[in-house]
C-alpha cells in the first residue's frame, strides 16, 4: 500500500469533509462509504492486491454510520439480500 495512504490511515481522526455531500443529511455519505469499502475489497482481491487501502473507507463509515445500520447491512450481506450494488 502506498505510503501516502498508510500515513493518512495512521493519522485518521474523523471523516473529512466530502464535497459530494455538503449538507446536513449525511445518510448518503455513510452508505456510499460502506459501499465503497465492499467494492474496494472486491476489486482489489479480484486483482490479488493487498486490500489495506480499503481500510480508509471502513474507518470513514464507522465514523459516520449508526451501528444498527452497519449491523443490519452486514447481516443482509451475509444473507445475500443487501440492496446496494457491490
Amino acid at each position: 500500500m502506498s505510503d501516502a495512504v498508510q500515513e493518512k490511515i495512521k493519522n485518521y481522526r474523523t471523516a473529512p469533509f466530502d464535497a459530494r455531500f455538503p449538507n446536513t443529511n449525511q445518510t448518503r455519505n455513510c452508505f456510499q462509504n460502506y459501499l465503497d469499502f465492499h467494492r474496494c475489497n472486491k476489486v482489489l482481491s479480484a486483482k490479488d492486491q493487498d486490500t489495506a487501502p480499503c481500510d480508509w473507507y471502513r474507518r470513514v463509515y464507522k465514523s459516520l454510520c449508526p451501528i444498527s445500520w452497519v449491523q443490519k447491512w452486514d447481516d443482509q450481506i451475509e444473507a445475500g439480500s443487501f440492496p446496494g450494488k457491490i
Binding site: R20, D36, C40, P53, K85
Partner: protein, 85 residues
C-alpha cells in the same frame, strides 16, 4: 396568451400603482422556475439516466461546490483524499 398580456397591459394603464406588484410576482416566478431547473439539471442527487449515470454524486470533483452560498468552507483548499481502487 396574447389576451393575457392585453388584460395585464389594460390593468397597468388604469392602475399604474400596480406595476411593482407585477414586477415582484414575475421576479418570484422566474426565480422559482430557475431554482427548479437548477435542481433538476445540476443537483448531484438527481439521476435521469440510470444506466449511464447511476450515481451522479460520484462524478463530482473533490473541490466542486454545489451550494450557492457556502459559509465557512474554503473549497479551493480541498484535495482528493480517498484511495483509488
Amino acid at each position: 396568451m396574447s389576451s393575457f398580456f392585453g388584460v395585464v397591459a389594460k390593468q397597468i394603464k388604469s392602475h399604474p400603482a400596480l406595476i411593482p406588484l407585477f414586477i415582484f410576482i414575475s421576479g418570484g416566478a422566474t426565480m422559482s422556475v430557475l431554482a427548479l431547473t437548477r435542481a433538476a439539471l445540476k443537483n448531484p442527487d438527481v439521476s435521469w439516466d440510470h444506466k449511464n449515470n447511476p450515481e451522479p454524486w460520484n462524478q463530482m470533483k473533490p473541490n466542486q461546490q454545489y451550494k450557492l452560498l457556502a459559509v465557512n468552507m474554503d473549497y479551493s483548499k480541498l484535495k482528493k483524499d480517498r484511495p483509488d481502487f
